[in-house]
């Protein structure tokens, strides 16, 4: 396992986020991949502990093995030597709604304590302060992927007490809300920020972001300063394992040599 290897000296928050995300993926799983850090995390995992990870992109590429870092979700490098090209109808009806996707990655301009995501609008929908891109495939990924991983740099703006619009449901108001909505997937299981790693608790606090691990160098104070609410903290707070030199070498030399995302 990567984590048994030698930790590296210097690394950026983005590099740590990618490594932490990669470690969440198991070999043989089928992952619905997004562009940017999620794509790097999946390809990093594929080079290390998960060689049989199946990468699926909403553009229709199944079992993609991109030889270069994809600059869009429909990069031609995702097609060449992939296992299958599916129409988007097949992707959403048969693969995603059909229950074939183990992990989905999501990001958000706003994320609340229950992992609900806003990628639609800041301010009022009809008189927006900022119009964001919208759902894309996020709403259905949030509902159907067996589990969801959220990656986002942590600021009070990104993690407010209340988000302006729920584009993609996380745990809604928490507890067993997803069960009541008959959501096939378990929803967000981890939130990975540049400061810490959160899970979604258990028992009566289930469905609410819970600080599980602080990244090296991060402090509880900085976590609080960059969160719109007082965070729940796990009984045994861990420290995130730093990237190994091999993880960093792959990221810097092979996966993102031009530093497009890192």
């Amino acid at each position: 396992m990567a984590t048994e290897e030698a930790p590296a000296a210097g690394f950026t928050p983005a590099e740590l986020m990618v490594c932490a995300a990669a470690r969440e993926l198991c070999d043989g799983e089928v992952v619905f991949v997004g562009i940017g850090l999620p794509n790097l995390a999946c390809n990093l995992a594929r080079r290390l502990h998960a060689p049989n990870l199946v990468l699926i992109y909403e553009s229709g590429a199944v079992g993609a093995v991109p030889e270069r870092i994809p600059v869009s979700i429909g990069d031609p490098a995702l097609v060449t030597n992939s296992i299958a090209i599916a129409s988007m109808s097949e992707i959403f009806y048969n693969y995603l709604q059909g229950g074939k996707i183990d992990v989905g990655f999501l990001q958000g301009a706003q994320i609340d304590r229950f992992g609900n995501l806003n990628t639609t609008v800041i301010g009022d929908y009809d008189h927006p302060k900022v119009r964001l891109p919208g759902s894309g495939g996020a709403c259905e990924i949030a509902i159907h992927a067996k589990r969801v991983l959220v990656i986002a740099p942590q600021t009070k703006k990104t993690f407010p007490a209340k988000i302006d619009f729920i584009t993609s449901p996380g745990h809604l108001e928490g507890g067993d809300a997803r069960k009541r909505h008959n959501f096939p997937g378990a929803g967000p299981q981890k939130v990975i920020t540049d400061l810490a790693l959160y899970d979604f608790g258990t028992g009566e606090t289930a469905g609410e972001m819970t600080l599980a691990s602080l990244h090296p160098g991060a402090t509880l104070d900085r976590v609080r300063e960059n969160l719109g609410w007082e965070p729940r903290i796990a009984a045994t707070l861990q420290t995130t394992t730093p990237p190994t030199s091999e993880e960093l070498r792959l990221l810097r030399e092979e996966l993102d040599p031009k530093g497009l995302y890192l």
Binding site: A77, N81, I83, I85, N94, K100
Partner: protein, 306 residues
């Protein structure tokens, strides 16, 4: 879903033993093209019982399974010997309960296609415009109606069909179950995604690189496939485009065989119970198969580069 690097290659006997149990709901699809007679015959040899057999066109393969006593129920849309008349053994089961009664659940082709499509999408149903004015809904209570939430019109519906196992013959597959088909596509993709397990039977086992060289031809990704069986000539007397032609003489000859229960049983004794596996069936068929081998008419390549 899980896509392990371990090979899923096994014999047909092993695949049927592992994935087709008594009482199961089974679909062997392929619309005239790529019908896995090899699987049907192995299911007969292993004496599976009380199966619910689903398929648009029951065809000879299901008639043989019904005559052998494997089936309790048939879910279908057209039951005939394509281009060669009725299926007499199926009629004996329906009309006289020989060898035992056979329950029928009947749709049109469109209805069956949409049932598989709903099953693949894990929807409980889908709407479609057929059946209106027909007596089919009168004899099949599973055909229902809904009101459109936009226009208010009534639309017929069919329920999802989610078999326990789909058995599909393909032209080529790798050992992980990634597989490709060309020519007639029927409803195979929908039947596979709708089923809990998928057995892929292939004319040719190829390297994964062959699949990856033309991803637009892929029917199924390996991670939804439970077993891969290498079975050349596995569709005979149906056909595999680019490999061998339909053995029309066999379909015509079947007419006379199926008319007489005794004759049919002798045929099963010789061509199913009397052979250990498909390889022996193929050896026994001999020249009869070789003269069906396809002529070559190759497609031009396309460029997947960037």
């Amino acid at each position: 879903m899980s896509n392990s690097e371990s090979s899923k290659l096994m014999s047909m006997s092993q695949a049927v033993r592992l994935h087709v149990s008594d009482g199961a709901t089974v679909v062997i699809e392929g619309f005239t093209h790529l019908i896995s007679f090899a699987a049907g015959h192995e299911i007969i040899r292993q004496k599976r019982r009380d199966l619910t057999l689903c398929r648009l066109t029951p065809d000879l393969v299901y008639e043989q399974m019904i005559a052998a006593g494997c089936a309790r129920k048939l879910v279908f849309s057209w039951a005939g010997n394509p281009g060669a008349g009725p299926l007499y053994a199926l009629r004996r089961a329906v009309e006289q309960g020989i060898p035992h009664p056979l329950e029928l659940e009947e749709y049109s082709h469109f209805g069956m296609v949409v049932r598989f499509q709903a099953g693949a999408a894990k929807l409980p149903f889908l709407p479609l415009r057929t059946f209106s004015g027909s007596d089919l809904p009168r004899v099949n209570p599973a055909i229902r109606e809904i009101e459109c939430p936009y226009t208010g019109e009534r639309l017929p519906t069919v329920p999802a069909l989610n078999p326990d196992v789909a058995i599909l013959h393909v032209q080529r597959a790798d050992r992980f179950g990634n597989c490709q088909v060309w020519g007639l596509l029927g409803v195979q993709k929908e039947a596979a995604f709708a089923s809990a397990r998928v057995i892929v039977v292939a004319e040719e086992i190829v390297d994964e690189a062959v699949i990856r060289a033309d991803p637009n031809r892929t029917l199924l990704p390996g991670f939804i496939v439970s077993a891969v069986v290498h079975e050349p000539w596995g569709c005979h007397p149906s056909f595999a485009q680019g490999f061998y032609d339909r053995d029309n003489d066999a379909y015509v000859a079947w007419r006379e065989i199926s008319q007489d229960a005794a004759k049919l049983n002798l045929w099963l004794d010789e061509w199913v119970y009397g052979v250990a596996d498909r390889a022996e069936y193929v050896r026994k068929m001999g020249d009869r198969l070789t003269r069906l081998r396809a002529k070559e008419q190759l497609s031009a390549p396309v460029n997947y580069g960037y």
